[in-house]
Subunit: 204 residues, 2 copies
DNA sequence: CCGTTTCGATACACAAAAGTTTCGAAACAG
DNA sequence: CTGTTTCGAAACTTTTGTGTATCGAAACGG
């Protein structure tokens, strides 16, 4: 023991680090990433300026840009949809609503862009995004599809990987059409997409 | 008339520009874009080095980076699928085969990445990509879907925008799963995807 | 052979950004 | 009050890329 014991954690003595500055840095980083949708354009100087913080304060906490990015993207909360479990269709719509809303959020969308485009340049970062964000979502949908097959609500011979791609891909691509003008999605878009995929293209 | 008439085109006199150098520059540009999947990281110096060409030779032809990019991407041939017109399913499979193969080609994929991510930074370029590459494809598929509705091969109440998104989005997302290890797509992937979307998820 | 133009290479000025260092002020412990 | 650490700001070095200019060599027409 050096000098004091302040509820177990020994304060290092000296001016404590500002939590407000840390939050401002993370926020500024996420804002700038969402605006530029690319990691190469992101500069520490811009982050410092946006956060109202000296570059020193950033480099004291993170030794390089990628470390900062990892922490910034980790701060992005990723709420998974809650499934009622009453019917497959209801749960799929719940997933679709969450994913559609998420895809229209600039901060969430930039995560997907990074995961898709910066795989070779920032493998560590992309791997982290994958296990923290993509894998859980994929797991939820996969379990849902397998449950549907088990209950008979889905075709017994369903190709799950293709079904997964059809759900996520369709939503991602559908949302793309409404980006430029920032128009709102049509009412009931989630139901429409899900029903479209459930029932197929051909007449019954 | 100044001096000569060489089949109508007056040669400016002096060493002619090397067509080989021009091709090397375009090729190097496309290579580097496909590798980095981002426009910000692309440097004229890297292009010159890869092409084995002096920077002068580039700047003599294009006054800035964006002009070069426009020409480079225009050099990307984009063969549309030829439709037999015998049945909707057959034509959809033909489209899917072309689009799947295209999506697995690095140079073609980078065009899509640019169109999706660099909209604010290079509006001119993205607009050109849109009208040269995206719009024709969308038109082919839209016409195909509308024909299917007219012939009764597709549901009369089909939501065409969603159907379009389901086709393209599913293919794009499905291909994504086979990127990292460069595994080949499963045999008959195009048929599987098309049949999956045609018949839907639920049992009949 | 001569004038013109392009060739690739190199050097240059200029700008942007990374990362380091220094500075005076401020916050905290004792 | 004193010592320690963080604060934001600014100066600094290094790297990287843009765009221009200069060079001798090479390719063409006449």
């Amino acid at each position: 023991m050096t000098t004091t014991d302040e509820t177990q954690a020994t304060r290092p003595a000296g001016r404590p680090r500002s939590a407000r500055a840390e939050k401002a840095i993370i926020d500024a980083t996420l804002d700038l990433i969402s605006e530029s949708s690319g990691l190469g354009e992101l500069s520490i100087e811009a982050i410092a300026a946006r956060a109202g913080v000296g570059k020193t304060t950033i480099y004291r906490r993170w030794s390089n840009k990628e470390d900062l990015l990892v922490d910034a993207l980790a701060a992005l909360k990723a709420p998974l949809p809650t499934l009622a479990g009453r019917s497959l269709r209801e749960d799929l719509v719940a997933c679709a609503e969450v994913f559609l809303r998420e895809t229209r959020n600039a901060r969430s969308r930039c995560v997907m862009n990074i995961a898709m485009n910066e795989a070779e340049r920032h493998p560590r970062l992309v791997q982290r995004i994958h296990q923290a964000t993509i894998a859980p979502r994929r797991a939820v949908l996969t379990a849902l599809l397998e449950r549907g097959v088990a209950t008979g609500e889905l075709r017994a011979d369903l190709n799950v990987p293709i079904a997964l791609a059809s759900l996520i891909g369709t939503m991602v691509w559908y949302v793309r059409g409404f980006e430029p003008g920032h128009e709102d999605l049509p009412e009931g878009a989630a139901e429409q997409v899900v029903d479209h995929l459930l029932v197929g293209l051909v007449p019954r």
